[in-house]
Structure formats: structure tokens, C-alpha cells
Amino acid sequence: MLKSILGRGLAVALAIGLGSSAYAQDKLKVAMITSESGLGDRSFNDMMVEGMKKAEADFGAEYVVIQPRAVSEFQSAIARAAGQGFDIIIGSSFDMIKPMQEVAKAFPDQKFGLVDVGPEPLGPNVVSTVTKDWEGSFLVGWIAAKTTKTGKIGFVGGKDIPIIHRFFIGYYYGAKMANPDVEVFESYSGTFTDPAAGKEYTLALINEGSDINYAVAGSTSAGVIDAAKETNTFAIGVDSNQNYMAPGNVLTSMMKRVDTQAYDMIKSIADGDFKGGEVLYYGLAEDGVAAAMDEYNDGLIAEDVLADVDMLKQKILTGEIVVPNYFDLEPGQKEMGKPPMATPPSVADAK
């Protein structure tokens, strides 16, 4: 509560303060609305601020961060920002779709941006982005298959639902393309909020011989990472850079680059080519996903595997490799172990 009042107070104060001067200098003004977890989450919100900072450096854009504390406060927070002359209001997360759509209808001249949501256009004055998490999963699957010593890798999903299958299919595809002989275990802990379950599921996979496990399971992932620490194997983080959670035991993280996405939105305003209603896809080629590299996983991945990343990027860009999106698959292909999913084409075949 306090946080939201402070956030709003700050936003109003800044908006009033900037209101006169900013218009005079014709500076770009951006409002960023955080998701529930707010700043300091070492995840999406912090990453998006990085995008803001970059825009500030490149275009001299002023940005204000507004932190609503609950989903129920999203709409009022966006509406308040909409009345204050920002050039664009940028938010993230699925929970913000409805509130932003409502406000966008009421303020047809205000430009909005929403990162990392679904493929549906959100309105004539809203640009939204879809993160191709399946391409990011493909990339970490490739890295895992090239790094495993046991020839077995694992996947721990939260719930057994289509959106999580999308990660798995990408991961599986990448792993099999890197090494057709690699064995990929698929498992779902059934929960996004139980680290203890995540740990037990991962230990079960490790007992089956898997030495790299990809966690796509919300806070259950903490258990996957802890299991890696306990057994000195590897985990792969998801969404944001989770390498810091167990230095040396997190091989990498499949990072959604919400910073790039937010930055590009501001850039479109600066360049004057903002197209409302557009849905932009951010995959490996667009730097919308990446395998996180930092001081915590330095040296864990071989140099030649790292060099593959650029090669894969190129091949995806030219369409030589098409990573399947689970939602586009035929019903028969969605099942594991059935052709053609069981034997995805190798890179050589694709040529």
C-alpha cells in the first residue's frame, strides 16, 4: 500500500514537475508500470528499467516508474498516468492486458505498449510484443545437449499446461538437433509455488542420470536450482537471469529480454514510426530472448558451444531453422516421442 502511494505520489510529482519543462524542451516522456512484484525483483521489472535507462542514454527519454501493488490497482494506475501527457505508457504481464485495454479505449490519443503478452492485438493505440520463449528454450536445449556429460537432460515444468509445453517442445527440439542421441526427460511438478516439490522432482531426474535440468516453474524453480547445488549438477533458469541463485550450478538462464522490447517501443516513438495495434514477435534473431551470460556462469559453457549461438541466430533469421511453436503443432505432434517430433531434422538435414 505504502509502496503504491509513494509510487503514485512520485509519478504525480514528477509529472507535474516535468510537465511544463518537458514540453518546452520537447523531451520524450515515458511511464513504466511495474507488475505486482515491483522494482527490486531481480526479474522483469528490474530488467525493464534497464531498457528505460538505455533509452534515456540514447534518446534522452525521461522515465517515471509507477508501482501498483496489486492487480486490482493496475487500471487506476494506468489511467492516472494516461492523463499526464506521457508519450508512451509501457507495462508488462498478462494481468495488465485488460486494465490497459480499458484505459486505452478511454484515452484514444495516448500511446501504450505492453511487453511479453499474447498474439492478440490490444487496440488501435497499443503496441504489444510476444516473446518467442520457444526459441529461447530451443537455444538452452541446444546448449544443454552440447554440455551434458551423461547424455541425459531434464525439464521440470510447473503445471502440465500448453503454455509450459511450448517451452518443453522448444527445449526438446534444440537438444535433439544438437545431438539426436541425447535423452530428454519431461516432468511437471504440478505447482508453480512449491520449491520443495521442485527439488524432489529434480532429484528424481538426477537419479535417472540427468545432469542438466531446465526449470520452467515459477518459484518451484528455486527447488530445481537448489537440487543442482546439492548434487553438483546444472540447472537452467528461466524468464530472467537466475544465474546468481547458485553460482557455478546454474548453467545459464533462458532470459526474456523485456528490456530490448521496451527499448524498441521507446525507439519507435523517437523515430516517429509507432504503429498502434501492432503485435511484434521477439525471438532469438530479434534479441528478444537470450541465454544469460554473466560472472556467475563464467566458463561453464564451452567456447565452441557459445559460438553456436550466433550460427543458430543466423539460421533462424534466414528461416533455415524453424523452431516449432507448440500452439501451431498438429495434435499428433504434440505428444512426446511421436514422429516427427521424436526426430527433428538435424542442422545438416535442414540445409
Binding site: 512484484s37 515491483g38 527490486g40 525483483d41 531481480r42 502440465d160 526427460f185 519431461e186 516432468s187 511437471y188 504440478g190 505447482t191 509455488t193 512449491d194 520449491p195 520443495a196 521442485g198 527439488k199 524432489e200 522432482y201 532429484l203 528424481a204 531426474l205 538426477i206 537419479n207 535417472e208 542420470g209 518459484s219 528455486a222 527447488g223 537448489d226 546439492e230 548434487t231 512426446m336 516421442g337
Partner: protein, 422 residues
């Protein structure tokens, strides 16, 4: 607990019920035999390979290879034999034994069917059975300790959650061992509060327990979402890693399952032994049980009923608090809202299934732990059963065991009744 009928019954009633039960059991076993033959025997091919050696083991022993289809037919044959035997001259003490063995056989046949043509680590599964059983066993033990003095303890779930929370918070700031002490203290505090409510103020025991559960759930969720998400260093406790017991931990199968575990597993096993000794071999244990069976008589003999109940329920809370710390300090070192996920209630079921005996509660907890880890294994094996159904396994086990198998378990006679001193 309203699980058993305590109303007086006549001998004729019992005889009639026994004869009917005999037929029902026979039919159940025959039905299972047909089911195993059709569902598992006819559909499986190849061998099921159960690996007994873990990647970290010092001594490796050969895999257990079971031909799937023949095994299913053997199990079906045994079940049919049990069923017919039950039909002819069943009843009596052996009934539950045969039903129990029958169910166990069905489970092994199911596992063999699911594994046919593949392999999986049986030792790994037993290891995780042990780990998953810990909070349930400690919850059940807390239930035993308080119900033995006739205080129904629905609040175990809340005590586990409070212990988990205190363990994470205090452990993050002051280290793991202080975290455990904090969890035990908080659990004991809630035990004391429960005792104060139901012993001194004679609040309905179920309502008091539910109130504690809701209070703890609300409080921990609030603090965790308002404070812990903001100051993550408050939710980053050290984890107790497995400790290898020299020599014993090198034994195949038994080593990893029993002697390569963390402090909480050893602690739970020791507590069960100590509680058994306390309840059945010490004077104060005898007094505690007397208070649970017949408080008036105990009072007449000079036992302070209130004091005994306060002490035992507080100890029960401390045990549950220790069990709660397993979720954070024994696992990942961080607290998440509602992370106990109903294990406290399953602990109560374990207590009933274990017939209000510490060792029984531990055995029952192992059954639930097994169901839990079975679910993980099946998820990896890609059985055609949807994972949501697999996730129900522990709860189905609860229902089957509590409703079907335990038969006439008798709770302490005064269970759930407040005592009013004349």
C-alpha cells in the same frame, strides 16, 4: 475424531457385519485380480528394469529385471487365491493383512506395467519416499501426542506452516540451527495457544484448530508478500544438506534410503522412537494416556489433567514446528505462501491410520511418502495417465487407507472432549 462408531453394538451386529465384510473383501480382491490381469497383464510387453544403484553409490549392484506381463499374471493369480480364501473362510485378524498384501501387490504390478520396456531408479524412489514422509510423520506424531491427552489437533497444518515460516526467517538472519530452534519455539507457542483455548477456555477443539490454521495462513502469506518479496535476504536461509553416516551409507539400497539423509530425516526417526518410549514406557507417558482415556479417573488419582494437556499439546506443537522447518531449512531455504500444501491434514490421516501410535504414524507417513514419490516417477516414465491424476495419488491413498483399510481403529476414549474439573 468421528472416524469410528463408539456407540455400543451387540454381538449379533458384529457377527452380521463380519460376515458381510468377508464377502465384500473377497469380491474386492477378485475384482482386483481381474483388473490386474486385463489392465496390466494383457497390455504390457518386455521387461521392467528397476535400477538399484544410484549415480553416487560406492558399491554397485545389478538391476532388478522383471518381465512385465508374466509378473502381472502371477499377481493376478495370487489376488484371486486371496479373494477365494477370503470368501470361503475369511474374517478375523488376517483380513486386513491379506487386503494390505493384495494392495501392495497391485501397486507393484502397476509399477512394473508403467516401467515395462523402460528403466527407473527404485532406490531413488525409496530415498525420496523417506524425504517426503518426514513432514507427514512429524505432523502425525504431533497428532498422536496431543490426541493421546484427548485434544484433537486440527491445527497441525498451521503449526507446520508457522514452523516453515519461522525457520526461513530466523534461519536467514541467524543461521540454520537457530532457525530450527525458532521453528520449534513458534510451533510450541501455537501448541500452547491451542491448549489455552481448548483446555482452559473450552473452545470447540475443531474450531480452535481451524482458527489457528487460518490465522497462520493469513499472517505468513501477508508477511511473505509484503516483506519477504521486498527484502529477499530475509528469505534466503541455509539448507541442511544430507549427512553421510560412515560405512552404513555405502550399503546398497539401504545406505541412500536411511543413512544418506539430512538432519530432519534422522530427527524424525529419533523423535518417533523417543515418543514411543515416552508414551508407553515412562510414568508421565502412562499419565498422559490416562488423561486421554479417562480424565475423571486420572484426576481422582491426583494427576493434574490440565497441566498434562498443556504440556503434551505444547510438545506436539514443538514437534510440528520442527516438521515445518523441513519445508524451508530441510529443502530449499525459502518460504512460499501456503507451501505446506495440506501435509498437516495428511499427517492427521497418518495418525489415524497408524492407530494413534508413533511408529504406526511413521509407517503410514511412509505410505503417503511413497504415493508422493510414485507420482514423480510416473511423471518421468510417461504413463498414459494424466499428471493431474497422478498428483491425486497421495490423497487417494489417504481416502483408501482411512476409509477402507484401517477398520476399527479406536481413538483415545476422551478424545475431543473438554474436561471440567469438579
Amino acid at each position: 475424531m468421528a472416524v469410528t462408531d463408539t456407540a455400543p453394538v451387540t454381538t449379533a451386529d458384529i457377527e452380521l457385519a463380519r460376515r458381510r465384510q468377508k464377502k465384500v473383501n473377497g469380491v474386492i480382491l477378485l475384482g482386483l485380480a481381474v483388473f490386474v490381469a486385463v489392465a496390466f497383464g494383457a497390455t504390457s510387453e518386455g521387461n521392467a528394469v528397476f535400477r538399484l544403484t544410484l549415480p553416487r553409490d560406492a558399491i554397485s549392484i545389478p538391476n532388478l529385471v522383471v518381465p512385465a506381463a508374466p509378473y502381472a499374471y502371477i499377481v493376478a493369480g495370487l489376488l484371486a487365491f486371496f479373494g477365494i480364501r477370503q470368501f470361503m473362510r475369511g474374517g478375523g485378524r488376517s483380513t486386513n493383512v491379506f487386503l494390505g498384501i493384495g494392495l501392495l501387490l497391485v501397486v507393484t504390478a502397476f509399477l512394473t506395467w508403467a516401467t515395462a520396456g523402460k528403466s527407473f531408479s527404485l532406490t531413488g524412489m525409496l530415498e525420496s519416499t523417506m524425504v517426503r514422509a518426514v513432514p507427514i510423520a512429524l505432523g502425525g506424531l504431533a497428532g498422536v501426542l496431543s490426541e493421546r491427552v484427548a485434544v484433537v489437533n486440527i491445527a497441525i497444518e498451521g503449526m507446520l506452516l508457522a514452523g516453515a515460516f519461522a525457520g526461513a526467517l530466523i534461519g536467514s538472519v541467524l543461521g540454520g540451527f537457530v532457525g530450527i530452534l525458532g521453528a520449534v519455539a513458534i510451533g510450541g507457542l501455537f501448541g500452547f495457544i491451542l491448549a489455552a483455548l481448548v483446555v482452559t477456555h473450552r473452545v470447540d477443539q475443531i474450531i480452535a484448530g481451524v482458527a489457528i490454521n487460518l490465522f497462520v495462513l493469513g499472517l505468513t502469506s501477508y508477511v511473505s508478500s509484503q516483506v519477504l518479496t521486498k527484502y529477499t535476504w530475509l528469505n534466503n536461509a541455509p539448507v541442511f544438506r544430507p549427512i553421510d553416516i560412515p560405512l552404513l551409507s555405502d550399503l546398497p539400497v539401504i545406505g541412500p534410503v536411511l543413512f544418506r539423509q539430512n538432519l530432519f530425516v534422522y530427527g524424525a526417526l529419533i523423535m518417533v522412537l523417543v515418543a514411543t518410549y515416552y508414551l508407553f514406557h515412562t510414568r508421565s507417558g502412562l499419565r498422559a494416556r490416562a488423561v486421554g482415556e479417562h480424565p475423571e479417573a486420572a484426576d481422582t488419582l491426583g494427576i493434574d489433567v490440565y497441566r498434562t494437556r498443556y504440556i503434551n499439546v505444547t510438545i506436539a506443537g514443538m514437534v510440528a514446528g520442527f516438521g515445518g522447518a523441513w519445508f524451508t531449512l530441510g529443502s530449499v531455504g525459502r518460504f512460499d505462501e501456503g507451501m505446506t500444501g495440506g501435509r498437516g491434514y495428511i499427517g492427521l490421516a497418518a495418525m489415524i491410520f497408524g492407530r494413534w501410535h508413533p511408529v504406526g504414524a511413521l509407517m503410514a507417513a511412509l505410505v503417503f511418502g511413497f504415493a508422493d514419490s510414485l507420482q514423480q516417477k510416473l511423471a518421468i516414465l510417461h504413463t498414459p495417465i494424466p499428471s493431474e491424476f497422478l498428483a491425486m495419488a497421495p490423497y487417494i491413498a489417504t481416502i483408501v487407507l482411512v476409509a477402507g483399510l484401517i477398520g476399527r481403529a479406536r481413538p483415545p476414549a476422551a478424545d475431543g472432549q473438554p474436561y471440567i474439573k469438579e
